[in-house]
Amino acid sequence: MEKDKFLIAGKHYLSRLLVGTGKYKNFKETQTAIEESGAEIVTVAIRRTNIGQDVKQESLLDFIPKEKYTYLPNTAGCYSKDEALRTLRLARELLDGHTLVKLEVLGDPNTLYPNVVETVEAAKTLVKEGFDVMVYTSDDPIIAKQLEDIGCCAIMPLASLIGSGMGILNPHNLEIIIDNARVPIIVDAGVGTASDAVIAMELGCDGVLMNTAIAAASNPILMASAMRKAIESGRDAYLAGRMKKKFYQADPSSPSSGLIK
């Protein structure tokens, strides 16, 4: 069976699982987990470098070569449109003109809930400056549509709070967003275990982005593998077209005729 195509900003990807690089014990574990996950798109954060460290200091990008992966610089820690713009302009410079970015403008340091008003404003400017914007947002269908209309190349509604592992709290809103969308919808934030990823894909999401679910598992490498399978099985189940749910009425699988009497 031909693999169904996953298209983001004009490029095809085989994997519908996107992963983060934070919270791992070391770069080696990060690298192994990402390999096990099969992910091709990998998020990174942009931060000040340590000044005057020793020459043997390793850097993250050495472990996730650009020949193999597509980087997705994020705006984690940004609470305003200006902070997000500044961060992504720097990211574009440091990654030699790379334009695929993850926009997130946070509203509150405790919940890390997105400030959608600032997000919309930031998205407008970024799209004008030629960025391919994958935007983290709430599960508000109106905001999701606005962000699409602005020109974001993918909309990324949260399942639940970042790093919370609570899973998909509002599948109905996600379904509304998916129904109305003409760009990829990628669930980002709150996935905790494999079944959460399966549910997201069964709802019709185009992909799932996760970090903590893998990095904070007791066995991150095994969880990365589980997530790879979860994304694939959820997507296949969606494409296969599930049976209808029958409430209040059973329907036997074995024949009713020819019963031994």
């Binding site: 983060g20 990174v44 000040r48 720097l90 440091l94």
Partner: protein
């Protein structure tokens, strides 16, 4: 004339020795005695080992090609950023 020139040169050396250039890199104050430091030289002095980084110089992103042409002056603020792990 000769006397004036010798005197003013001596004065300049005196001035630099007692007023080192102070700049801020990633929020840290750095002092430099020399007077002509471009960004390329600064990166060497800071022992920056990362291959991929970007520099914001007084709020403006400077492309790598312009590092040799951008000279530091007293009070400059620089942000040097790299990619790190994140979700």
């Amino acid at each position: 004339m000769l006397y004036d020139k010798a005197y003013s040169n001596k004065f300049k050396i005196f001035e630099y020795k007692n007023n080192p250039m102070k700049i801020y890199v990633n929020g840290q104050q750095k002092k430099f005695e020399a007077n002509e430091i471009c960004l390329t030289t600064l990166i060497e002095k800071l022992v920056l080992t990362e291959k991929k980084f970007a520099i914001e110089y007084n709020g403006e992103i400077i492309s790598k090609g312009n590092f040799p042409k951008t000279f530091l002056k007293d009070g400059d603020k620089l942000e040097i950023v790299v990619a790190v792990g994140g979700g």
